[in-house]
């Protein structure tokens, strides 16, 4: 009586026309200029696009809504020529006039779409050097910078720079975040909070048409249930898989596991304002006493790689021959012996109790480190708290050592090193330089690297930054956590993106033809 086989005919075909992606929590806001949670970004990435984008699966920039771009010799002007014949989902044509709107509303507090409750918090960081964005022709716009900033082009490929329809903003006002309108392969239909966000294919898309009539981002909070749903075919893709569940999926032909190193780093921050940790030898002893290779394989169930530097491999300035911090417990013990008085009281390591991309199981990382340090004669207490409390403790510098990490936004070294080592990021309460490391030479290097237009020179400057980091050791990099997504094997075209956003526009049923528009 309760079987599901009595569905009306035609329903099964409808089902194959719907792709459901499941994740653990819901989006918060769907306004690209005012979000910072991954779920919102991953939804918006189906609906909106920027002037440029990362070539799928890489960190190389390719044209998107701009068909070409040009950077002036002095690095102060970026000129974009828009693609012809593109329109937003509400029919608004993409013109230079429409494009600059998405930037001006973030820059100008008096702009009608600079909504009171929106924070535009990314603008002040990733785009801080933009002085003006202006129309210079019907389909041409120009960014004017106050000083050269080599990471701007990358930042323009990131979600705060997605273009949204000016008309939709005018119509919806502060409700725009619940009716997002962009140019992407899917068009927003309906949002049932904590349940699902429903989208439909953009039939007028300028690129390859999307693979499905309907795309649904559904919320399945329980990790076990999410995987069960995927196995049962109720959803076709998911993220948020726990590393411990990976083993159970090996050899399951009906699912494809996509995984690769994410653009993130999990590290141990030393609070340099602490009486004991301000001594370099204390930090060195701690660094030498931790076997980071085992940490990556044991405490992370293999779902991460050892971090030798505070930036991921392949980033500008990452040395060709790695100079690794060794695991040398004898040397660590020697330092402890020589500075006995500093190691009497136990050190406190603060950690969050919920998984992050860089630490799928943070408490086990802390416990592992505790064991290692105590081996070297360094007593340790671990204090775990929920993520927001933890963040608050670290931002206010009320700790000795803290396990924390960073997920990159634009794939640029400045987005990591500037946040970790710049003295401007060491303001109590708002800090991201959790070590409260202040060094004029470091500031100087970071700022000149940001202004340097020449790639080779920039790489050199970042190498100097890394040398200085290694000398002062304000933090100890531990791991780069993997990005993981699982997709039903009957579908193809999915690729993980370096900066971690989802692109589902290219996913289609295996064997389905891709007709050109």
């Amino acid at each position: 009586m309760l079987s599901s086989c009595g569905r009306p005919s035609g329903d099964s075909s409808k089902r194959s026309e719907t792709f459901v992606f499941a994740r653990g929590s819901d989006a918060q806001k769907l306004d690209p200029a005012d979000v910072d949670d991954g779920e919102s970004v991953n939804t918006l990435a189906q609906i909106c696009e920027g002037l440029v984008r990362f070539r799928s699966g890489t960190l190389e920039i390719e044209p998107c809504l701009a068909e070409s771009y040009e950077i002036s010799e002095d690095g102060l002007r970026y000129r974009f020529r828009l693609r012809n014949g593109v329109s937003f989902h509400d029919g608004t044509a993409l013109t230079a006039e429409a494009a600059v709107y998405s930037f001006q509303r973030q820059m100008d507090p008096k702009h009608p779409a600079h909504l009171e409750e929106a924070s535009f918090s990314y603008w002040n960081y990733l785009y801080q050097d933009v002085l003006e964005v202006r129309v210079i022709g019907p389909m041409e716009l120009e960014f004017v910078l106050s000083q050269p900033n080599a990471s701007l082009l990358y930042s323009l490929a990131v979600f705060p720079a997605f273009l949204v329809s000016p008309n939709a903003l005018a119509v919806h006002g502060d409700q725009f975040q619940r009716h997002p309108v962009g140019t992407g392969p899917y068009e927003f239909v309906e949002w049932r909070p904590n349940e699902a966000i429903v989208m439909k294919r953009n039939e007028a898309y300028w690129g390859d048409p999307a693979g499905f009539e309907r795309l649904v981002m559904s919320v399945v909070p329980d990790n076990t249930v999410r995987l069960l749903k995927l196995k049962a075919g109720e959803v076709q893709g998911m993220d948020g898989l726990q590393p411990s569940e990976l083993d159970g999926l090996e050899g399951d032909d009906s699912l494809v596991i996509h995984r690769e190193a994410g653009l993130n780093v999990g590290y141990l921050a030393f609070n340099l304002e602490n009486e004991r940790l301000k001594h370099r030898e204390v930090r060195e002893a701690i660094a030498l006493a931790i076997d980071r290779e085992s940490l990556a394989s044991v405490a992370l169930s293999g779902a991460g790689r050892v971090a030798h530097y505070p930036i991921p491999k392949g980033f500008l300035g990452y040395p060709e021959t790695e100079e690794r911090i060794p695991f040398d417990i004898l040397k660590a013990r020697g330092i402890v012996e020589a500075n006995k008085s500093l190691f009497v009281e136990p050190f406190e390591i603060r950690v969050m109790n919920a998984p992050r991309q860089y630490f799928p199981d943070p408490v086990s990382v802390a416990t592992f480190i505790k064991g290692q340090l105590e081996n070297a004669g360094i007593p340790v207490n671990v204090v775990a708290s929920d993520f927001k409390s933890h963040l608050n403790t670290l931002r206010n510098g009320e700790f000795e050592m803290g396990l924390i990490g960073w997920v990159g936004d634009n794939g640029d070294s400045d987005n990591f090193l500037g946040m970790f080592f710049g003295s401007w990021a060491a303001e109590k309460g708002m800090a991201s330089n959790y070590s409260f490391y202040r060094n004029e030479q470091m500031d100087e290097l970071l700022l000149s690297a940001r202004r340097e237009g020449d790639l080779l020179n920039r790489a050199d400057l970042y190498q100097d930054v890394l040398d200085l980091w290694r000398r002062d050791l304000p933090l100890l990099p531990l791991v780069h956590g993997d990005n993981i997504a699982v997709i039903d094997a009957r579908y193809e075209g999915f690729e993980l993106q370096k900066i971690g956003d989802l692109r589902l526009g290219s996913v289609r049923l295996r064997g389905a033809s891709t007709e050109q528009p």
Binding site: S3, S4, S119, L228, N392, M430, S432
Partner: protein
Amino acid sequence: MFRFALVKLWQLLLVYGLASGIIFAAMQSLEDPVSLKFSKYPNPEQVVAEKHRLGLDRPVLEQFGLFHRKFLSFDWEKSLLTGRGSWEDFKLYFPATLELTLLALLIGSVVGAALALFAREKSGRFIGRVAMSFASVGLVVPIFWVGLISLVFGSLWLGWFPMGGRFDLALIPPPEVTGLLLLDSLLAGDLWSFWDALRYLFLPAICLAVYPAANVSAVLYGRLKEPGIVALRVALLARGVGPLSLFFKHYLRVGAAPVVTVLGTTFGALLGGAVLTESVFSWPGLGRYVITSIVERDLFVAQYLLLVLILMVYVVAFISDLVVQALMVERDSVEDA
């Protein structure tokens, strides 16, 4: 009756005062919800401005006053994280929880009553003991565990039920009137949607019904074993009253009052238990939302909705009190006869 109402009103004020004080104090201990809403790039000036706009920079007592004024005048602040109004959120998530809870109570009381009556008639026999031991197990078994087992069994193996969620994402839901999908689909005359909504509701409702079923059967069974009722049974049977009539006419009547009390108090427990059920079954309800709002430091949502939940539990208990009073009057007259 007037006195009774007055006492209850006084109690309501007391509950409101205590609950709001405790909730407000607890929320004060959550560090800095405004800067923590930015997980990455908090902007000092913006944080200060926003705190000012929300009145969070005022003295604590003034904030407490503001909290009452806003709450009582329904001028609720918006969610810090989603920008949706807290009241709007309540209207959004509450129907889902209500629908689930009501169905669970219905299933729970029917199953619980049936178990108790069955056990009463088979008392002393093995099968009767089995029936009553179900009641004891039902009181202690963890709901999320029952949920996972029922998902594996009912969805994965048998394939009869969807694996959580509220409605088929490939279908269009009926127009919203009450927010209760079962009711809305009937109002729209859409039987297919009704059927679909019922399929989604079935497992979580069964799972949530375990606790009230156990409670109801234990209380009803105890009542039926009271000497007075035992004597009544003998008298009625001697008078030639059939077993069916005995069940439905007399037992339920004498048992109704304690059962209603149990249901009234269980309602509160269910709203709490629903948090786990809502997580396991991906049910977009209020319990899960409130818990998330606390973890995520969504100050206003957490404050208002917790307070509303507490008041609601109190009001339901109050209504069940009234019903019990009415039933008692009637029952006394029955027993006298």
